[in-house]
């Protein structure tokens, strides 16, 4: 189930990225040929917001986000694992805020529209809270994984 969701998410991100590049290119070519396409930029920016959020989740799944390890490398394996678990929990809290406040902000400003296309603004503003939902799922997976390792190593001790 989650695996399927992940595949779908990644495929969506890839297709959106390609679509974004294509739209920007079409915008530029059309203008050079004296037939400016007025909506291409606005749509590509909406896609950019979604691509960014999906991409951040992708990097989170692959654990590619960079941290500073000046202090932590000197600690014991066990403390490092505990700190890591604590980090995950704080991040989860942040993401839950993003979901809750992000969606309520989206609803509050729901009657605004995008200036050129006049599309509802929520198609843009929903990107952050929706991305936070996906990242929260990823983080919960990480937390469950960390807990399992923790338990396994404790039974070893």
């Amino acid at each position: 189930m989650i695996g399927k969701l992940r595949q779908l998410e990644l495929a969506l991100a890839k297709i959106s990225l390609a679509a974004m590049a294509l739209l920007i290119l079409i915008g530029g070519i059309a203008r050079t040929l004296d037939h400016p396409v007025i909506w291409s930029l606005e749509i590509s920016m909406v896609i950019f917001a979604w691509v960014s959020m999906l991409a951040i989740d992708q990097a989170l799944q692959k654990q590619r986000h960079i941290g500073i390890d000046i202090l932590t490398i000197h600690l014991s394996q066990r403390t490092q694992r505990r700190l890591n678990l604590m980090n995950q929990l704080i991040i989860l809290g942040f993401l839950i805020c993003g979901i809750w406040y992000g969606y309520s902000f989206t609803i509050t400003t729901g009657n605004q529209v995008l200036p050129v296309t006049q599309l509802p603004l929520y198609i843009l503003n929903a990107a952050v809270p929706t991305g936070c939902v996906l990242m929260a799922i990823t983080t919960i997976e990480h937390i469950i994984h960390s807990c399992r390792i923790e338990r396994a190593s404790e039974s070893l001790d």
């Binding site: 007025i38 930029l41 509050t108 400003t109 605004q112 200036p115």
Partner: protein, 301 residues
């Protein structure tokens, strides 16, 4: 201070209106004995205009300088303020924004959008064309890519005047005009001067296709939290500052045109009748027929 307002604008501190904001700040702080504090954030430091409107809607203590087009998404009639060739002069639009009809329109903002207008008498100048070739008639604009403000009304206006509207962030305008991504822009003299477009263009044509009137909009939630007497002080002070800022803008606008002429830009008047005729249908297309009739009635009364 007990109450504080963060006033945001995309204008730079060099813009004549900015002195008006400073006067507004000083006036309010003095009149409320510093119980209401106003912080100014020029150059779009706090965020893009549309973003700030969202913050205000969400109940943040922000204020923002906007034109009618931005508010038309909440009260459609307000779009008429930037309609092409509808207002014949600054005096006429000034008369209109002082009329009961206009006040009824903006009176809908608190309920519809959680926004409140403090004053709507901040004149920024008449919009003109900045081009690399002379413009005498709509035919001269054929195939000319004109940078358009990201609003349907401006896009329609540029098309009907003969040009190809090309939406682009204002911050991109200098490099885009220099390399030829766009051929022209439309703006008021103070903005043309501020963005240094005179360095890279040859002609300014005084089409005056609309008169850019703006207002200070604040969050209704914040405004309603103020005691009545402070609310009134904010309204009075912003009216007062707006009026003197408008006068300063007109004076400095003329000075800027003269300075740009000195730097070698050709400043030309043009017969606007053919342009106005070509654009006559825009208000109908935008569904603003009734609003335009209201405007005609008020300015001819």
């Amino acid at each position: 201070a007990e109450y504080s307002l963060n006033l945001s604008t995309s204008l730079t501190p060099n813009d004549p209106s900015y002195q008006g904001f400073e006067a507004f700040k000083k006036g309010v702080e003095q009149a409320t004995d510093h119980h209401v504090e106003i912080k100014l954030f020029p150059s779009g430091q706090l965020g893009a205009d549309n973003d700030i409107l969202q913050y205000a809607q969400a109940g943040s203590n922000v204020g923002i300088i906007v034109d009618g087009a931005r508010l038309a998404q909440f009260v459609p009639q307000l779009g008429v303020l930037t309609a092409p060739f509808l207002f014949p002069s600054y005096a006429s639009i000034k008369k209109f924004v002082g009329s009961p009809v206009f006040h009824q329109w903006i009176g809908e903002l608190p309920k519809k959008a959680n926004l409140n207008v403090l004053s709507f008498n901040w004149f920024q100048g008449a919009r003109m064309l900045v081009t690399k070739k002379p413009i005498k008639s709509p035919a001269d604009l054929h195939g000319v890519r004109v940078r358009a403000l990201e609003a349907p009304m401006t896009i329609k206006t540029i098309s009907c005047m003969g040009g190809s509207p090309t939406p682009l962030a204002w911050s991109e305008i200098y490099s885009s005009m220099q390399t030829g991504v766009v051929d022209a822009a439309e703006a008021q003299p103070t903005a043309i001067y501020g963005s240094k477009l005179y360095e890279i263009s040859k002609y300014i044509t005084k089409t005056r296709h609309f008169y850019l009137e703006t207002g200070i909009v604040v969050s209704h939630k914040w405004f309603a939290s103020l005691p009545d007497k402070y609310q009134q002080i904010l309204i009075d002070q912003s009216e007062k500052a707006g009026e003197s800022a408008s006068q300063a803008t007109i004076k400095i606008g003329l000075k800027r045109l003269a300075q740009m002429q000195q730097k070698g830009v050709v400043i030309e008047s043009v017969n606007t009748k053919p342009f106005a005729k070509a654009c006559a249908n825009v208000v109908n297309q935008m569904g603003l027929t009734k609003a335009a009739q209201d405007v005609e009635r008020v300015i001819h009364s």
